[in-house]
Assembly symmetry: C2
Homo-oligomer: 237 residues x 2
């Protein structure tokens, strides 16, 4: 009786079914960044044909998981609300099953949450913090480097003009699950992270993807954003 009432009051199965398909899940997670994306872009990101993506988007629309805003010949889709984002986040939390048993593993997990490489760029709390500093300082605006930003990065040893020539997206925002916030990805993210490692501001940890901020890094980053001269003991290899 209780069960019948529950089932009547709220059918969680249909909503779960919408998320259960890998392609739709990819679409939804792509939208988790908050930006509205065009149908074609979502098709490409999730690796299916435009027709398939369209069918999925139509179902997501019916299920009120996404909204659409028509703009010219594009249709931009976005998550229908913060509740939808919450569902995805909470699902992600149980999906990344923590088979953490030993103290050793737990310590490693904490290291990874703090700072790690995401392919070839910085992620974790450190990655998000760096990204925020770049954005709030006006060095990075709308996924583009400002003149001010180019000067800052030059001091770090990053040749922005050269990076721009790379055959990959320049400065996309990359989401990560532990922080649920964006950090700097793409060619620029890789270049910046490479510079940080070369300066010895971060060094590789024992755990595969983990990196750790060094004392020099702490000072160096502070000086960099304060606009001060970088101290001599930071070797620019």
């Amino acid at each position: 009786m209780a069960a019948e009432h529950i089932a009547h009051d709220s059918d969680i199965a249909p909503v779960a079914a919408l998320i259960a398909d890998p392609t739709r899940a990819a679409i939804l997670t792509a939208l988790l960044g908050g930006r509205a994306l065009a149908a074609g872009e979502l098709a490409r990101l999730s690796g299916v044909s435009a027709a398939t993506a369209s069918a999925h988007l139509s179902r997501l629309l019916d299920g009120r998981l996404v909204d659409v805003v028509r703009q010219g010949r594009h249709r931009y889709y976005r998550l229908a609300g913060h509740e939808v984002a919450e569902v995805l986040e909470v699902l992600a939390r149980v999906s990344t099953r923590p088979p953490i048993r030993s103290l050793r593993q737990s310590r490693q997990a904490r290291l990874l949450e703090e700072a790690r490489t995401c392919y070839d760029h910085l992620a974790g709390r450190a990655g998000v913090a760096l990204f925020d500093q770049l954005v709030q300082g006006g060095f990075l605006v709308n996924q583009e480097v400002t003149d001010k930003g180019e000067r800052l990065l030059a001091r770090l040893g990053v040749d922005v003009a050269g990076v721009r020539k790379a055959r990959r997206r320049f400065a996309p925002e990359c989401l990560d699950w532990t922080e649920r916030r964006a950090h700097l990805g793409g060619a620029l993210g890789a270049a910046v992270t490479g510079a940080l490692l070369e300066h010895g501001w971060y060094r590789q940890g024992a755990v595969p993807r983990a990196v750790m901020l060094t004392d020099e890094g702490r000072e160096g980053l502070a000086a960099l954003f304060a606009g001060k001269e970088l101290t001599s003991h930071t070797p620019v290899t």
Copy 2:
């Protein structure tokens, strides 16, 4: 690039797929009460054969959404952790689509959250509060009415022995989504609610399922649980 990373870090689709089946959803919501339930009981509650339920439970076990504890020839299943419960709750929140637009509707929603009938018994904050008072006062233990409870209910005008003869579950705990807590359901829940309405302690509101506590009800309930004589102006029809 960001999307690939996301997909790699956490596959939400498989977990969602586990919840996406109506039968499994029914099983999970039945377990949301926190108590461990036997496989057969879950089969009955979700309306499928034992074989089908067994297959589902096996998959839920693989997916680490439930735990099992063997006890004699029974196998009691329960949710694997509070994270799983959180997923179900947040899914329920988006599933109960709130098409609240007008102020009028919003007001009605608040009324329903406060006190409403759930089929034929009291739910909402008021329902949960009443249930808690019964349990904490030792009137209701393990879904059974104590001697003390029987005397209390008799003063309210509820014939417990008579209710027990009804062809429905006696005093099951009924979960409701707005409060995410249990309230009194079944035959006893209906009888108690009927008595409350007959006393004029609650009266039907304008909104379909809403009920409202009256001044007499406030006094009457206080007197009831204080063990005091019920005042004369509460008509026992």
